[in-house]
């Protein structure tokens, strides 16, 4: 392990490149989703295509969670309720263990945010404006008006829940930076954290870039063919 000249502490890999690229791509996609709906009456074509991209990103992450880098795998960060509660209690007493990857609560937030992003994209497939003239998801034509109305309601309700979770997520990151002096954003950008006695692993094993590319191609195929098979 070579040490960078500017840093006195050794750095270790925490998150591999595909995981980081996915993470920031999802941030951008969610921002585009909001902007393409709200700014100046919106841009339906961008909004609908962006929805497919969100779906691709989520499917990619699900695949990467099975075969990706060590800290990207669900088995490495989805903690049992018992572990999660124990971590939360330890956190309150300022005695929590430090994690190289997602801590137990952070891991659950990843699961929740992925689920909400998926729910937004899936309800969007069936959503349309009341008149079905302005914006229409690719599968809105395959279902009844009542289903479109339901999808519309869910799309909006889930958005509110997603916003609450994003606020919690950002608040937790700020809490770690300010109170715990653990800067997670640079780690999610560079992929590195200072070497330390982490609870989960000393260093992460990155997933292969070729495998990540294959996951992305598979995700695109699953989403596009899936929508086509459903009649969109």
């Amino acid at each position: 392990m070579t040490e960078t000249t500017s840093s006195s502490t050794a750095k270790v890999l925490a998150w591999d490149l595909p995981t980081r690229l996915f993470k920031w791509a999802l941030v951008v996609a969610i921002a585009v989703a909001w902007a393409s709906d709200k700014i100046g009456g919106g841009n339906p074509a961008v909004h609908v295509t962006n929805g497919r991209i969100v779906l691709v990103l989520v499917v990619f992450r699900l695949l990467w969670g099975l075969v990706g880098g060590s800290t990207a795998r669900f088995t490495s960060f989805v903690a049992s309720p018992r572990t999660s509660i124990a971590y939360a209690l330890a956190l309150l007493r300022n005695r929590e263990g430090h994690y190289l990857g997602h801590n137990p609560l952070g891991g659950w937030m990843v699961v929740v945010l992925l689920g909400l992003a998926a729910a937004m994209a899936l309800t969007g497939l069936f959503n349309a404006d009341v008149d079905r003239m302005i914006v229409e998801g690719p599968l809105a034509r395959t279902v009844s008006d009542a289903t479109v109305t339901l999808a519309h309601k869910l799309h909006h309700k889930i958005f509110d829940v997603l916003m609450i979770c994003i606020v919690l997520h950002v608040a937790a990151v700020v809490f770690h930076a300010v109170v715990k002096k653990e800067r997670l954003v640079p780690a999610m950008v560079t992929g590195e954290k200072p070497a330390a006695a982490y609870v989960d692993a000393a260093r992460a094993t990155p997933g292969a870039i070729g495998l990540a590319s294959a996951c992305l191609v598979a995700a695109v195929a699953i989403v596009w063919l899936g929508i086509r098979a459903a009649g969109g």
Binding site: G41, G42, P44, M133
Partner: protein, 145 residues
């Protein structure tokens, strides 16, 4: 004789203009105008999605209906027409200025688009703005069913 009739007519006209519009009439009037706009735009929206052949005359007619309708609509939301068989949001009366400004924008954009749209390319470039104007208002001022 004719003077009497003229005076009576004038009095009637003044009374009629002062009499409050019945809420049901205002609601029916605005719904008729909005429906006329929707009926004209529906086939044009299909053209935009390449589901119907481009028809410049139909596009221009829809834009004229939209511009004229947008100019008429502000008069059809009197204070007494907040409730009834309507999807009009109470926010219309709480934010009347912003609501009316959206109709002004729609009317101006529809007139500008009618002048600017001469072929399928200019149609594809200009028409989405009209739908965006519709959506901007529906998002904030139309109640969801």
């Amino acid at each position: 004789m004719w003077q009497k009739t003229a005076v009576a007519g004038l009095v009637l006209a003044i009374v009629a203009s002062l009499a409050p519009v019945r809420a049901e009439d205002a609601i029916a009037a605005r719904q008729a105008v909005l429906k006329a706009i929707g009926d004209d735009i529906r086939p044009v929206a299909a053209m935009l999605r390449h589901e119907a052949p481009f028809d410049l005359a139909a596009v221009r007619a829809a834009l004229r209906t939209t511009a004229e309708g947008a100019a008429m609509l502000p008069a059809h939301f009197p204070d007494n027409s907040r409730t009834g068989r309507t999807e009009a949001s109470p926010r219309i009366w709480a934010e009347k200025e912003r609501f009316l400004a959206l109709y002004a924008t729609l009317a101006a954009d529809a007139r500008a688009a009618e002048a600017a749209i001469t072929d399928e390319a200019s149609f594809a470039a200009r028409f989405p703005k009209i739908l965006a104007d519709c959506k901007a208002c529906h998002d904030d001022f139309r109640l969801k069913k």
